[in-house]
Symmetry: D3
Subunit: 284 residues, 6 copies
Amino acid sequence: MNRNVETFIGCDSAYEDAGIVLFGAPFDSTTSFRPGARFGSAAIRHESFGLETYSPYQDRDLADISVFDCGDLELCFGSAEAALKDIEEKAGEILQDGKMPFLVGGEHLVTLGAVRAVIEKYPDLHIIHFDAHADLRDDYLGAKLSHACVIRRCQELTGDGRIHQFCIRSGEKAEFEFAKAHTDMHKFSFEGLEDLTEKLAREQVPVYLTVDLDCLDPALFCGTGTPEAGGVSFTELLNAILTVSKLNIVGADVNELAPMLDASGASTAAACKIVREMLLALYQ
Amino acid sequence: MNRNVETFIGCDSAYEDAGIVLFGAPFDSTTSFRPGARFGSAAIRHESFGLETYSPYQDRDLADISVFDCGDLELCFGSAEAALKDIEEKAGEILQDGKMPFLVGGEHLVTLGAVRAVIEKYPDLHIIHFDAHADLRDDYLGAKLSHACVIRRCQELTGDGRIHQFCIRSGEKAEFEFAKAHTDMHKFSFEGLEDLTEKLAREQVPVYLTVDLDCLDPALFCGTGTPEAGGVSFTELLNAILTVSKLNIVGADVNELAPMLDASGASTAAACKIVREMLLALYQ
Amino acid sequence: MNRNVETFIGCDSAYEDAGIVLFGAPFDSTTSFRPGARFGSAAIRHESFGLETYSPYQDRDLADISVFDCGDLELCFGSAEAALKDIEEKAGEILQDGKMPFLVGGEHLVTLGAVRAVIEKYPDLHIIHFDAHADLRDDYLGAKLSHACVIRRCQELTGDGRIHQFCIRSGEKAEFEFAKAHTDMHKFSFEGLEDLTEKLAREQVPVYLTVDLDCLDPALFCGTGTPEAGGVSFTELLNAILTVSKLNIVGADVNELAPMLDASGASTAAACKIVREMLLALYQ
Amino acid sequence: MNRNVETFIGCDSAYEDAGIVLFGAPFDSTTSFRPGARFGSAAIRHESFGLETYSPYQDRDLADISVFDCGDLELCFGSAEAALKDIEEKAGEILQDGKMPFLVGGEHLVTLGAVRAVIEKYPDLHIIHFDAHADLRDDYLGAKLSHACVIRRCQELTGDGRIHQFCIRSGEKAEFEFAKAHTDMHKFSFEGLEDLTEKLAREQVPVYLTVDLDCLDPALFCGTGTPEAGGVSFTELLNAILTVSKLNIVGADVNELAPMLDASGASTAAACKIVREMLLALYQ
Amino acid sequence: MNRNVETFIGCDSAYEDAGIVLFGAPFDSTTSFRPGARFGSAAIRHESFGLETYSPYQDRDLADISVFDCGDLELCFGSAEAALKDIEEKAGEILQDGKMPFLVGGEHLVTLGAVRAVIEKYPDLHIIHFDAHADLRDDYLGAKLSHACVIRRCQELTGDGRIHQFCIRSGEKAEFEFAKAHTDMHKFSFEGLEDLTEKLAREQVPVYLTVDLDCLDPALFCGTGTPEAGGVSFTELLNAILTVSKLNIVGADVNELAPMLDASGASTAAACKIVREMLLALYQ
Amino acid sequence: MNRNVETFIGCDSAYEDAGIVLFGAPFDSTTSFRPGARFGSAAIRHESFGLETYSPYQDRDLADISVFDCGDLELCFGSAEAALKDIEEKAGEILQDGKMPFLVGGEHLVTLGAVRAVIEKYPDLHIIHFDAHADLRDDYLGAKLSHACVIRRCQELTGDGRIHQFCIRSGEKAEFEFAKAHTDMHKFSFEGLEDLTEKLAREQVPVYLTVDLDCLDPALFCGTGTPEAGGVSFTELLNAILTVSKLNIVGADVNELAPMLDASGASTAAACKIVREMLLALYQ
């Protein structure tokens, strides 16, 4: 008789064979408004069974690729630094084994842990960032490690011009000014993504993709801590993912689903579908 | 003093005068993910009182047409075959009286009961099918009578090329392959519907229209068991209904509202509006 | 130690300096379907702290304008006339002090209180009305003071041709007929708004803007008593607000958020954002 | 084919044979805190199908008694006086036909309509009142017709000493003082009910029973506008009903279920059970 | 790197060492009112992580006993007989290996599958049944295999006088009459349980314990399809479990948690606690 | 025109006159299971308007005592130490002004901030602790500052025998062992509280009262992160508060309401009532 193994649907490859390793970071201690993103990764795994493994968009099937799901990390609430260290370590281990880390949050701060590990291996890393929020504050109520500062911290690692932000529609005035000087910000939509992709593809640089699901319009995706009206549609996000899949993606994450906030389950179902499409598109 | 009669708003014609007979099939026993469609028909009837009888889209009023609402069937949970038999019988009775059966589900399997009755009277029946899901599995965990197999069972009745599917964006790989060989499937949208309508209108064939409300995007319609991001808008569905209303529609259904899953009531309100527009458009 | 002052975010100007005065009217006694709009103004104030004061759409910041928030009126439930009198009085006081009243409902009937005060000062007032519903009934179950009659009552004050309705997609047949004779109704969308704005700008007339948030599609905004599928998007509403901001707006309101109906908080967040954009756009 | 008749379970007697006539008053316009009681009567009727007609507590079955359910009145929101008049008229008609009116609210104010009709026929009426709240205010924000004043208005009809209040645990200080002078108030529990029943039984006076369901502890019954911790249990309320059933009950009501506030359905189920037990106990 | 194994908290023994084997039966196809019990077993497993492994009631710890959790069966919706066969098979396998099957539902019908396997091994089986409902119907709308008939079906296996029912407070009149003739029914409470336990202990008979969680009062446990006011408290149920633990319990189940119906999570938490206490009490 | 001041109902004394100062600590970063307690203090303040200022239990009125409500602290999420420092500072300021600090959480960890300030002034402090959970862990996943460790941290400040715990029904085995050696723990109920009160009253020691609302049974109070079945009733908690009010209470807190988890509002209403009764009982 077997133990009860739970994975994201279709992600039951042996570790050795896997090209992508999915892992969850159930952490949301720095969330300043509505918490609950800590339950995101478990909900995505659990509810993925309402999904098919086959994508009619890509005509590809999770059954035909090899992904390993190692479950959720056990992270310490109340200490952002300790949580980031654990995430970094896990991502590092996956990279060392020659596989792509695919992180499922949790709040957006968890990205920093993965980026630290990835940039260690790929110092010339670019980051593509889909989000409603700029996340470029220097600190939030005194804290440097906050979901509202995560891209600012990443920028300190990559340097100027290596972070490409899309769909941004919320932030302090100062964040938008910072972006003008230090990042490549595209407001409101994915305009410019195709051109950027062509350019980065030519340069053959390694790219990390971070998807804050609140880039989606709250119409479709209200299960998130800080919903911002005026976002992109599922089809737009899907197309953006397919676009960047032509790049050399060396790490990726999806974050900010707070499943309890959308009791209908539609936000979680949308997140599951985004994860499926990303896995299929990024698998090489 | 009168008993408490409840009907869909404006559907208070005498049976003899009615051109359309609305009836509910509160059944969802084969639903494999989130149940609750059993409460769909009662919710649509009950919440229709938040709606006007007049449609500014069609400039027509339910007060000007004759519809009879005979309420919900009392169906046996746990036996799909028994439930289908009761539905078939009721639809048959309505057809025999020269009226159009208008079935409100319930899960999508209930369509099979109505189609059995309609095809008995109209052996050259075509089916137009709006849905997120292909519903073309041969069986689901061994069961032949399942919501996931309903169009496959219908195809066995109509034969090849008589089933026209629109908006489909989910299914197993095998279902999409089956569709290539046996049905007329249009993925993701209503593309092709106008051409099809012209063709079927010329051929003057009888048509059954089955609307799985999850063809709508979950943004608008999250109150359904298996929400699939990437669906059509209300306006697109409305236009599709107006398009096919030029055909000889001999039976129709609306299904898969699970009202409890959308506590805001917006999904139920949308379903009520779709029912009103269908009644106004299909009434002849 | 200070008392606990709560305002809409960034609306902490001194009264003397304020150009706009925001006040709430927590009233929904005449709501005929789902009540709860009484909680709208408090929720908008309370949840505004999830919002930034800066608008990337307008590149303006609430920190740079002067708005005073005097909280919610204490209104009597069960007596529409008494509630309207209190609203009229407060709006009158604000107008007398040379400031713009900005009313947050509550149900749509509250508009009548503000309009009474504004038209007293500006007898040649025009009203621009964004709504899903015509609100042109003469009475509702015998009541003349009802949310379903509010624009009819306003029309009695302004006379013919002075009320400009947009996005209307629900009402009795008789309301649409009334509109043909007495108001300037634009069904379903904002089509015609640019032309109207140009014309009214040339005429330099004073304008009152009333925004029933249910003009938005329930996909984004399900937290309202009578959701009507087929509405406008956030971006469309935002653009409409920016368009009319070129006019001489002398009073405005936002109403019909029923926050409890959307447990995700997305409707309240959208309402907060609309209020921020209106304040920034209408401030002169 | 029959129309869709909906009644409280088992209440399908012919009007002529009925000893009790159940009718709903879906009104909550004066509710000052959380509205929703307007949906109480319809929910009780609709959800009663989850109940058995047989009571193991009384060993009696609704199938053995004759009750007629004439559905809900169509009441005007926004005018308490108009609503009360309609309720009084309906109750009067039932009384004239020699049957007992059994009113299902709605907010507690609806009781006043029924009591006006009953006291017209039985001028020596006593009222037994189960409630968390005293409901003895003279006015509420200026309104004399408010849920918070309903027993005060009844006291003006009956005079002193004829109103017997139980379970009361909330009110202004002034209400408790009024009670000392004018009503027979028993705080917190049903203590004293047996003695009172014996006394009233000896005197053979006609009695009206009004049950505000918020007398129940919110543990069991949170689906009400103003839940007050510290209430009685279901068993205590059931026993109280059985106790007073020995009296000459000439009218009764149940009110203040706000079904949307308890999404689990447990409050509505409890209300249905109380209605069943009251019908069985009061039927003579 | 390890796969993601999920078990009920503390149930991570090796299969060989285990004295109890926990397995889930996510089935609710015959539920006639509110479905959702299918999600019960997964929710109990998932939410058990909010629980401690130590019980201060028994001063015992799950860490000190050996339980194996083999996860949920994959059952066919829409066919009760197929589902029961799968459950019977799994329970039989566990019994054959000399371990106690501990089944977590699902709806109450799943008990029949386990009882069929247990009675095969222990033909002189007694059943102790805690429930709000008698579950003694001969059929439900024609179906013999229904949650409302499960104890009737069990009685056909055990014969008269071997089924001991407690807390029963709902059913048709005919069910209560059947009970008088064929089962040992104790209405409303656990009265009589201590005496019964002493008697059965003396007789050293094998006993199956089936706990329908709706025996609990809906105050504590509203997350169930058919809540029945007037139930027992957590402490009373706990004491009842401790009482019967002195018997030779050879199989047990817990069922009828429908987690989605109680969004607070309190019902699921209570169910987890009952499972922990049962495992600790029944482990020998 | 006045700014919008919001206080707990009836707590509108001038600061100088106040005997008690109420302040909120909206912090829940270390919550390990369901977060949301951060919204507790604002919800209690906001929803208190559904409450009367008069208590029939104590025959006292908030209008007759002087309490100042200074609102919520703005605390940094993600850093427990920073948050505790801010709470300690505010409590210290209140104590220095000769008033009693009355803290409303937030998660239970906030107590440590207040206790640090109180013990500074009263080194011989005793703590009376009502809670479902022992909160005596030495660390939680490595963190010393966690809701699960708060009483352990307090014990390090008071020393042995000065902490008196009641209603405890959950914890690790090691916590119960720690309690035997170092605290005065009373499991499951308030048994022993009267004796303790008499003893401490004789000794005239200063006492801090900390009420984790999850000591209440989840039947009444499900709006909390970790509901534990088997708790005390409202009446029992009220009586316990009245009992300890005879002591020299020098500081107090109420915590762990997570209002979003109980959408009915009943948990928040219960918390408001507990706060009212505590203010009335502890005011000297």
